[in-house]
């Protein structure tokens, strides 16, 4: 589909069958039905998509498009009703809209706990924690508790924690949705830098069209109720894009039109 971009050969630990095709995530005809009492809600309808290793894919859609359901399935927090979700043994880290840090632990302990949970020995944890906090530019803030940090800083601690899960694939569920525009803009740059440094594969859910156009190598548009893939844009990667650049604006305008058309379908 869209893998014209040059991805360096990734030797992800535990990479299996999928890695031959260089797909980090593959969804084949995935449907998800929620049953509440007698009513059935079709959240996802035969969604197929692939994300290549090292690719940054944004998923955009209006309310009720099953974005969060999709991420839960890829994260393994939920099972599809039918279809296949494959991550080829890759480790998947998740970031939510809320930082979801443990308020009784310091920033450093929050990150360290993720290392501990996957069995990193005590002696190695301290150094790795410092390295991860430095990677999100929070060196020296490790001793602070979450409530002593700003919203943007908390979200970066959450990012460090997701990285501590040694993730090859990062799932992000509107991670900057609750931040102000200025902070969000800076964190876009940061996320881009970290992804390049670590060759991360990212599946990024948002309903902010500019954010999608700013960050994605590819943007996938989902319909609402049920969620289906209705459109897809591949964006040329020419250095860094600014959120206020003409090319981002142009793509954002096209995405907005598509979404309005989709919302209009439900307007009767």
């Amino acid at each position: 589909m869209s893998s014209e971009q040059v991805t360096p050969p990734v030797t992800a630990p535990g990479a299996s069958a999928l890695s031959e095709a260089r797909d980090a995530v593959r969804l084949t005809e995935v449907s998800k039905v929620y049953k509440t009492g007698r009513t059935e809600l079709l959240a996802l309808d035969r969604v197929s998509l692939t994300v290549a290793d090292g690719e940054f894919v944004c998923i955009i859609g209006a309310s009720g498009c099953g974005k969060s359901t999709l991420l839960n399935l890829v994260a393994g927090l939920d099972q599809p009703t039918s279809g296949l979700v494959e991550v080829g043994g890759r480790k998947v880290g998740v970031m939510f809209q809320e930082p979801a840090l443990f308020p009784w632990l310091t920033a450093a302990r929050n990150v360290e706990l993720a290392l501990q949970a996957r069995g990193v020995p005590r002696s190695a944890r301290r150094g790795q924690t410092e390295e991860l906090l430095a990677a999100v530019r929070l060196g020296g803030f490790g001793g602070k508790r979450p409530h002593e940090l700003s919203g943007g800083m908390r979200q970066r601690v959450a990012m460090a924690r997701a990285l501590a899960e040694d993730a090859d694939v990062l799932l992000m569920d509107e991670p900057f949705g609750a931040l102000d525009a200025m902070t969000r803009d800076l964190l876009h740059d940061e996320l881009e830098r970290i992804c390049e440094e670590r060759t991360l594969t990212v599946l990024f859910v948002t309903h902010n069209v500019r954010e999608a156009a700013r960050l994605g190598d590819r943007v996938i548009v989902l319909s609402s109720r049920p969620g289906r893939v209705i459109d897809e844009y591949t964006l040329p990667r020419v250095g860094h894009r600014r959120i206020d650049s003409p090319e981002v604006s142009e793509v954002a305008a096209r995405l907005t039109d598509k979404l309005r058309e989709e919302m209009g379908r439900h307007g009767h």
Binding site: F102, W104, A117, R118, R137, R161, L186
Partner: protein, 287 residues
């Protein structure tokens, strides 16, 4: 590099400036602000008490604060007074400790095992609403007039609150944190050790505090009922004073009960406050 600088600047702008250590004079002023309303309240009680005494209401029984407080002072010179308090506090500590263990184990079991919750959960709530004095005659029948009967009543008073505090805490672990913990790979024991139990701590401390209040009431009730030969407790002292129509003596005992209750409750309140402050659950303007 530009991004880096801008981000650093933003971080610095958004963090509250470090206020440093408060000066000593400010601390003193803060302490005084906390203490004077309490001193005022005590003074008010003494004034009203004295006024009632001055009206000459029940002149042969009722005494003003003067005689009562001087009697208290007199008693405080004697070892007997402290031995009485010591004996009662020993029972309190022992009963509360056993209630703590039973309550915690029960709480964690009920929270973890759904059928047990269905069976025992409502019983625990029921026990909590039951006045623990009602257990005293039952305990005497079961154990006789001895220390075991007293401990039994204290445990029946305190353990349900402690168990309930823990169950509430486990139930109200924020779902978002649970999701985060699971994606991190916390499972089974580690999930409890590193997420659910720490998240339950504020509710558990609230349960401990309520458990103490119930334990203290239960203990007083039990001591009034249970007379153990050779050992005089606060409750028994009250009993003796009642039988000898000693108003002053009974008043001093009431003051002792009140003071002990208030002091220990303050300790729990302080612990609760410190805990919530550490987690940023308090508005900084109110601290």
């Amino acid at each position: 590099m530009v991004t880096d600088q801008a981000l650093r600047g933003l971080d610095n702008l958004e963090l509250r400036p470090d206020q440093g250590r408060p000066e000593r004079s400010r601390l003193a002023r803060k302490a005084w602000a906390a203490i004077w309303p309490k001193l005022g309240a005590i003074a008010l009680v003494l004034v009203v008490w004295e006024l009632v005494a001055l009206t000459g209401w029940k002149p042969y029984v009722f005494k003003g604060p003067g005689p009562v407080l001087s009697d208290l002072w007199q008693q405080m010179q004697h070892g007997m007074f402290w031995a009485t308090i010591g004996w009662t506090m020993e029972s309190a500590a022992e009963g509360y400790l056993i209630a703590l263990i039973i309550g915690s184990v029960l709480g964690i079991l009920v929270a973890r095992i759904p059928p047990l919750r269905a069976a025992v959960g409502s019983i625990i709530t029921g026990l909590q609403t039951m006045p623990s004095v009602a257990w005293a005659p039952f305990a005497i029948i079961l154990f006789g007039e001895n220390n075991s009967a007293i401990l039994f009543v204290v445990i029946m008073g305190a353990a349900p609150s402690i168990a309930n505090g823990l169950i509430t805490g486990v139930d109200y672990t924020p779902p978002l944190l649970l999701r985060a913990g699971k994606t991190m790979g916390l499972r089974g024991y580690t999930l409890y050790r590193y997420l659910i139990l720490p998240a339950s701590l504020p509710a558990f401390v609230a349960g401990l505090k309520q458990g103490w209040a119930f334990a203290w009431r239960s203990l007083m009730a039990a001591e009034l009922f249970v007379a153990i030969i050779g050992q005089i407790s606060i409750g028994q002292q009250l009993n003796v004073d009642q039988q000898s129509q000693d108003f002053t003596g009974a008043s001093t005992v009431l003051i002792v009960i009140l003071v002990i209750g208030v002091v220990i409750d303050t300790i729990f309140t302080k612990a609760d406050l410190a805990l919530r402050k550490r987690r940023g659950l308090l508005d900084s303007a109110t601290t």
